[in-house]
Symmetry: C2
């Protein structure tokens, strides 16, 4: 992969467009498109309109703002002259995270600031890298692709889908994909909303974990009881909750839900070798985790645990008296919010049933005694995991494009988090590949979010290479 | 015990004084002496002054209002002519519980209401039974004692201590006892702040459980973590807290703190027989407990569990995200409020050390992994348990007095709760006996608190018998 070299024409084109690229992106960053804040609904709308207008100016013959029951998405389509070319759908989002705590920002979050760094320059502002910067480099990459190949249309049938609710959980995204399935038909999805492993370790993400959440409600006595009058003679819901949570893992740190691991794609030797070869600095990782020790499933490394293994986590727990001082009660009820990260190819729809069976087993073994009810309420549909095999032609093409843009060997990572990208894979029934240039220190979701300008430009360069490369790919076509 | 009979003279005296007794008590009940409410400090003060004046009028040669750093107590002393007579200290309290939820009261809480019941009449109002009614029957009992024996002084050296902070945890009571130890010197304490087992099962309480509370703070990562990026690879404080809470009991429901049971006075065969002979209706008890099942330490009945066995209870638990919806974090910390009820003769001062050792053991066995800190903060001093042996002469005298007043066999109970009574036993170094006439359905601490008028009058009668009976007791005197 390291034998791929950059194309001076592409590079020169991208460099020459630098000022204009940053000026336009800064305009977009001034729009406070916070999807989680109902007060900013107008700004998210404005952000969609801004992007639609720019895509139109960039030459896309079809540009539409797609309303949803929430915030709008932007869709654009530019077919290739070559009817045999594959169809690529680029995914990104134009909404941004909230900005609090505002007092920790060194500059106003929606007044983008270009400043020098030891590596060049960075653009500071909400959305700089997550995800406006990464959507925006696609326009530059496409322009470079067209200009340097002398084409009037892209080498692939190019579609863009830029949603407006990613930062508030994409509540209407799956429905949008189903409603617009015809227009969104494609052979591969290119997601530009992730990052590389490090400044000196350029990488391509091959998959994400899935997710399903539930709330576990434990009820005992109909009201809080005086622990003097009743304590020691009735079951305590908070104690039972604790025993259930404790029973969720075995001594090896494995989740005890029956069948939980049945569908998990095991890590292959080749991928384990590649992961092990990444320059992983545990001390540094622990510093990022603000933790003094690692902990997890026996038999797996830290990177394997967060990227390729499923988990059960307590996100919140509460019950009884939690104010100052004490109150000697047996609480009437106790609760936990649980979330399960899912490794490929687990199905979120399986987990609720497994949990029901697990609760029945706990009833049978006495962990859940008479006098206590336990109800787990799962969200209707979680997020699927996704994983593209290392030998997939589209993944290989992205790898080559990134290798040429950064002039280095490209490694493979996964993403431990979960996102609507998996819905794309599931609903559109195509593979998803990731082309992202975020850096671990970009402070996404945090104050002073920034994008490294050099990395954004390399992203544009990678896009220019990718469309040319993918043009010759002939994906297997199922009869439609 | 059932062979004791009532004295018609005492009974007639008490009956004749009924109207006056209720009129005066109602006056007192109109004073809203809520010690937990700083706004009512003046009312607690007024309640103390009201009682002091009445005790003075009743003939006590010494009556004092004792200030504390909180609300005042009332002290009164009436020595016997007989220097050899034992000294008895009566304990009660003149403060009352808050009244919320006010909307559930059928009459105004501080406008006492006399109303008919299937059994006679009841006086409804905050403090009617807890504890003004039970303090007030002592004045009537003493008057009956003096009038029917023709004495000008009580047959025992009589002291009263009526505190003003019982319903807010008696924060200054132990200090008051230490400061006033000389004046409070006595041979036995008679506590009138409890009840009988039931309308048809007259009983005397022989002891109370002790109590010590702590907060357990579990800290992990320095901040909440994204469960996608870090979940499964760092220890989760909420999970660890759950494992610790689960480990607090073994499979038999016994508390696992090392040495926890070492000092517990085992239940004797005689007391187990007496407890088993009480008419215990488990269905009814469960209805009171608002629970559908009992649960507790193996090998003990429900009454034994709540009266004579120590416990560990979770009073509250919290950590992480507890709002609507979900938030996929690994929480930075999690907490539990724990309380331990202590059986005679456990020492609250032992528990913190046992807990420290227990935490060290959990560290050693891996329940508490690297990366997680656990700190238990115990309150400075808990409440001691107290227990008077069945064969103690003062307890026998109370039993006879109650038997005569109610003309029935008297049973023995204990109290599962904890109170300042144990401080009396500990600091004054004398036994504590209980003479109380509350009923299980008196709704203490709840809306529509009431006292059964007949039971208050029987309490007065018992007092009259008790002072005559105790007069001949010659307690063992340690050299002073």
């Amino acid at each position: 992969m390291s034998d791929e070299t950059s194309d001076p024409a592409v590079r020169d084109f991208v460099r020459a467009a630098r000022e204009r690229f940053l000026t336009d992106l800064s305009d977009w960053l001034r729009i406070a498109s916070i999807s989680a804040d109902p007060q900013q609904a107008g700004e998210v709308e404005r952000s969609a309109q801004w992007l639609a207008e720019k895509l139109h100016l960039a030459g896309f013959p079809t540009v539409e703002v797609w309303p949803t029951d929430g915030r709008p998405a932007v869709y654009a389509h530019w077919p290739s002259e070559d009817p045999e070319a594959p169809t690529v759908l680029v995914y990104g989002h134009h909404d941004v995270q909230p900005v609090d705590p505002l007092e920790l920002w060194e500059s106003a979050p929606f007044e983008p600031l270009l400043r020098d760094t030891p590596y060049g320059q960075e653009l500071v502002g909400r959305g700089a890298i997550d995800d406006k910067g990464q959507v925006w480099f696609h326009t530059l990459g496409l322009a470079a692709h067209l200009a340097t190949t002398g084409r009037s249309t892209p080498a692939v049938h190019l579609k863009l889908l830029v949603e407006g609710e990613e930062e508030s959980g994409s509540p209407h995204f799956a429905q949008l994909l189903r409603d617009r399935a015809d227009e969104l038909r494609c052979d591969v999805v290119v997601v530009s909303d992730t990052g590389v492993y490090g400044r000196d370790t350029i990488s391509v993400c091959t998959g994400m974990r899935g997710l399903i959440e539930c709330q576990l409600d434990i009820t005992g006595p109909a009201g809080d009881l005086h622990s003097g009058s009743f304590g020691g003679a009735v079951p305590n819901p908070a104690t039972v909750l604790a025993r259930l949570v404790a029973a969720l893992h075995d001594a090896d740190g494995r989740v005890t839900l029956p069948g939980f691991y049945d569908k998990v794609v095991p890590l292959g030797d080749r991928e384990r070798e590649l992961l092990a070869a990444l320059p992983f600095d545990e001390r540094r990782w622990l510093a990022d985790a603000q933790s003094t020790a690692t902990y997890g499933e026996a038999g797996f490394t830290t990177l394997e645990r967060i990227w390729a293994r499923p988990t059960a986590e307590v996100n919140g727990i509460w019950g009884g008296y939690t104010g100052p001082g004490g109150k000697t009660i047996v609480p009437a009820h106790a609760h936990a919010k649980l979330s399960f990260r899912l490794a490929a190819a687990m199905d979120p729809a399986d987990v609720a049933g497994q949990f029901e069976q697990w609760l029945a087993d706990r009833r049978a073994d006495g962990t859940l005694p008479a006098g206590i009810e336990a109800v787990a309420t799962f969200e209707k549909q979680g997020v699927r995991p996704c994983l593209t095999p290392l030998d997939h032609p589209a993944l290989q093409a992205v790898t080559r494009a990134m290798g040429r843009a950064f002039e280095t060997e490209v490694r493979y990572t996964r993403e431990g988090g979960s996102g609507p990208e998996a819905d794309l894979a599931e609903i559109l029934a195509v593979p998803v590949v990731f082309l992202g240039v975020g850096l671990p220190d970009d402070r996404i979701h945090a104050p002073n979010e920034k994008a490294d300008v050099e990395f954004l430009l390399r992203g544009a360069e990678a896009v220019a290479y990718l469309w040319s490369d993918l043009a010759s790919w002939r994906p297997p076509r199922a009869p439609r």
